[in-house]
Amino acid sequence: MRTLGRLRRLKTTLVPEFHSCCKLQAPNTAGKQLPRIYVTRRIPPDGMKILSQSGLCNIEQWDSDEPVPRSELLEKVAGIRGLYCLLTEKIDAEVLDAAGPSLQVVSTMSVGYDHVSLEELKKRGIRLGYTPDVLTEAVAELTVALLLATSRRLLEAVDEAKNGGWGTWKPLWMCGYGLTDSTVGILGLGRIGAAVMARLKPFGVKRFLYADTGPRPDMATKIPAEFVPLEELARHSDFIVVCCALTPETQGICGNRLFSLMKDTAIFINTSRGGVVNQEDLYQALVNGQIAAAGLDVTEPEPLPTDHPLLKLKNCVILPHIASATVATRNAMAALAASNLLAGLQGKAMGKEVPL
């Protein structure tokens, strides 16, 4: 009991001395040396609970809603065994060097891992956990929400209702493009792409096409979809939905060539990563009427500067990367990332691990 009191007083003395955002979890009362982990942000409660109640690690955390400054990150990772990060942290050679040889697991609270250098991790034998599946439904849902908001001109219409542009009912005012009898092309038929397809089906889509590194018969099971070259996807689709990972192969793949092949009534939707799209080419395609409209949940950079030309276009809807943003999903992601990290610390199999 006396030890506990002493430890509490120690914490009360020490904590204010640290940077106001840095939080320490006191080691257990037996004073065992547990492996140290660093958490790069304030994370949802379901994740925090798993880490703090595990008794498996000492936790240091950037306990803020804002991203951890780079200098702070480099300082705090020194000597840690596990790193819990978000997609806002670039996990490259610099960070891994700063951590040193003790680091054995990185766990990202995201399904994308383009912010992590797989090569550097592999070189050092560090494992990587991530959060697929638990966010598939929320992301597919938001992707469809964005598609509909774009094709049915919702944000334009909301503005008209607010600014006096709404007169009486008129047959041809604010008309958009419907999904009925349309052809939808998915770029990247992974978990999210397949889930988007399932949600679009009852809207009367006539035909599903997809482009990918190769055929995906495992994904195109319940709903028939044709595997086609990217050029054909561009030519025939009324709606193109980008759901692929960002890799060197997909970087800038949606550019001038793709847009020039698309129908001028077509709608382009990207909820994957900003880097897949050449934004200057997209801007030109939209102002020149090469395509009808675009909806983006991801941009380059994030956040997009408020004076960016794309933000001036009525036929371009931009959302602030909220595809997985439901309380349930974010908590599930946090919990999975926490479990992945703990499994990595113990040398056990992770729930979801990126094969390196």
């Binding site: 942000r41 949802p44 439904e137 909301v158 209702a161 009912w169 009925t180 949600r199 009852p202 956040p303």
Partner: protein, 322 residues
């Protein structure tokens, strides 16, 4: 002789009339609605009337038209702007445009539901005004459809089409209410027929797709909202008058419900200083339910064909049973 009143001409519908050579056409050829006095003067002696939902076709109009009038064709599926009793009394037939707008309207209803529950207008605004700083775990979180209960008020054509579209989003349970159970429509969704009060209490999403009648007028009121969950979302794409707007405003500001999406209001347009327009958790659209190029074109052609059939005393593609 027939009169064709339309606030905006549609090329395909015009072709239908020109090709028919069944009637001569007088038209209010403007994007703006026809003034009442014009309408009353213009209908005199006409055999047919093609109107929009913005024209109130009541006793005054019917009297002004006189005994030649035998067919009224409306460019809408809603008929609450028509005095059906008066029309029936005079033996006038009514054509309308169901079915052909079901897909577009159901699609827009789902679009509105998703925009409201996933906070699209609010977050798009943050992108423009500097509110978007970085990816944050709990910023701009909304409510998802996964494992939810959806309550449909009015499981008609549009209500069913909405349910069909919501199903693959992971909805756990569908409830519905209305004047009577519709087991043949409900079976596809395993939807349970429940009283209005139970629907309010148990639904995470309430979708209003019923017609406006004396029974449904003001149905979504203070009592209704008081029973709804604090995390629930109300969507109305039927007619404005089904919802008590003052009560809805109170429910939204007091946190009685989480959010609302309306494609229809009272009046239309809603005045720009209306309190509902000031709420972040209320998404208001300017009655664009059926607004796709394909649908509006098809509605125009159908309304024209309904009118011509009525003039010729033939059976209409879509006649309203009076």
């Amino acid at each position: 002789e027939a009169r064709f009143e339309q606030a905006e001409s549609d090329a395909r519908a015009q072709k239908v009339f020109q090709a028919s050579s069944v009637c001569s056409i007088q038209q209010w050829d403007s994007d703006e609605p026809i003034p009442r006095s014009e309408l009353l003067a213009g209908v005199a002696g006409k055999h047919g009337l093609l109107c929009l939902l913005s024209e109130r076709i009541d006793k005054e109009v019917l009297d002004a038209a006189g005994s030649n009038l035998k067919i009224i064709s409306t460019l809408s599926v809603g008929v609450d702007h028509l005095a059906l009793e008066e029309i029936k009394k005079r033996g006038i037939r009514v054509g309308y445009t169901p079915d052909i707008l079901t897909d577009a309207t159901a699609e827009l209803s789902v679009a509105l539901l998703l925009a409201a529950c996933r906070r699209l207008p609010e977050s798009a605004e943050a992108v423009k005004n500097g509110g978007w700083t970085t990816w944050k775990p709990l910023w701009m979180c909304g409510y998802g459809l996964s494992d939810s209960t959806v309550g449909i008020i009015g499981l008609g054509r549009i209500g069913q089409a909405v349910a069909r579209r919501l199903k693959p989003f992971g909805v756990k349970k569908f409830l519905y209410t209305g004047s009577r159970p519709k087991p043949e429509s409900a079976v596809e969704f395993q939807a349970d027929f429940v009283p209005l009060t139970k629907l309010a209490e148990e639904s995470d999403f309430v979708v209003v797709t019923c017609s406006l009648t004396p029974d449904t007028k003001g149905m979504c009121d203070k009592d209704f909202f008081s029973r709804m969950k604090k995390t629930s979302v109300l969507i109305n794409t039927s007619r404005g008058a089904v919802v008590n707007q003052e009560d809805l405003y109170q429910a939204l500001v007091s946190g009685q419900i989480a959010a609302a999406g309306l494609d229809v209001t009272t009046p239309e347009p809603l005045p720009t200083d209306h309190p509902l327009l000031s709420l972040k958790n209320c998404v208001i659209l300017p009655h664009i339910g059926s607004a796709t190029y394909a649908t509006r074109s098809a509605m125009s052609v159908l309304a024209a064909n309904n009118l011509l059939a009525g003039l010729k005393g033939e059976s209409m593609p879509n006649e309203l049973q009076l």
